[in-house]
């Protein structure tokens, strides 16, 4: 799976045509969704498939119909930015060794609240899906903030792109 992801990411970077880059990115999201699905994170997988592979591909395609498909990519040799990229990727890999073991909930800081949600969700909410009960029940206030962020994003796009009309 990881090998497929690496191959797809390289093909996004180095393909000459923007259309094939977009299709490869969509496929990349789909492979990510399958990885999430295999890790039993069904809600995250659905989000990745809908947003990453679905709507963002559509928006990219729409943008592609406005610009020229063939773009000559200037391959610059920017040493400082390459160094920053290198340091950041080493940092990310080193942080990933501190992740809790896959499937274990005892190592996380929120172990107590996690246990509480898993045990009490059915009694408190009467809803089988724990993710929904946390998202819209226990943490409804955070979800309200999330919706406000989406609302603000929509309003901002409206404000930026609609400015020349009036």
């Amino acid at each position: 799976m990881m090998l497929i992801l690496i191959i797809l990411a390289t093909s996004v970077l180095f393909s000459k045509s923007l259309l094939s880059s977009i299709i490869a990115m969509s496929f990349y999201s789909m492979v990510c969704a399958i990885i999430f699905l295999l890790s039993d994170a069904v809600d995250v997988a659905l989000t990745e498939a809908a947003v990453g592979a679905g709507i963002s591909t559509l928006l990219f395609l729409k943008t592609l119909s406005l610009v020229n498909d063939q773009v000559d990519i200037a391959r610059s040799r920017d040493i400082p930015s390459f160094m920053i990229f290198f340091i950041l990727s080493i940092l990310m890999v080193s942080f990933s060794f501190n992740f809790p073991e896959f499937g274990s909930i005892s190592l996380t800081d929120q172990a107590k609240s996690t246990q509480y949600y898993l045990n009490q969700s059915m009694r408190d909410m009467g809803i089988p899906n724990v993710v929904t009960s946390i998202l819209a029940g226990y943490r409804a206030f955070d979800t309200l903030g999330e919706v406000i962020v989406i609302f603000t994003a929509g309003i901002s796009v409206l404000g930026i792109l609609n400015r020349g009309k009036e």
């Binding site: 659905l46 009467g126 809803i127 929904t132 009960s133 819209a136 409804a140």
Partner: protein, 141 residues
């Protein structure tokens, strides 16, 4: 892109199923995977696909911009109203227990979560359609 008959026929067949799946994810989110956010994105995707395939060259608007803007606000208002109803029954903000009936103590939670997810779905889908619309208009001018 819009002149290919194969693409048109396949899209006509697929769009109702995409919408049905979106509604399923929306209203069945308490029992299976998904919720308002994913459902909103899926429904918006079906509408955008229709617009992208069939109305690429048409200049008239598929949905009036004012209607989409109104729906963006309606979704977030539903969410806020559910929160404020908690105040009216003497509870906290977003306290669904005050919506419960006397017989089933969990029914308030179910109603609250259902309404909140509905608000999220409406806002997300209309924001996605709005962004697509703005991109489309930006290309014309």
């Amino acid at each position: 892109m819009g002149n290919n008959h194969v693409i048109k026929v396949i899209t006509i067949i697929m769009i109702p199923f995409i919408m049905l799946f979106g509604l399923y994810v929306q209203f069945h989110g308490e029992y299976s995977a998904g919720g308002g956010f994913q459902a909103g994105v899926i429904i918006a995707a079906s509408i955008i696909v229709y617009d992208l395939i069939f109305r690429l060259d048409s200049s008239e608007e598929f949905l009036k911009l004012e209607i989409i803007e109104t729906f963006v606000a309606i979704g977030i208002t539903i969410y806020m109203l559910v929160g404020v109803i908690g105040f009216l029954y003497g509870g906290n903000f977003l306290d669904y227990n005050s919506l419960s009936s006397a017989y089933d103590s969990n029914s308030g939670q179910k109603i609250g979560i259902f309404l909140v997810e509905l608000g999220v779905g409406i806002t997300v889908s209309s924001v996605m359609i709005l962004i697509y619309h703005m991109f489309k208009d930006a290309g014309k001018s």
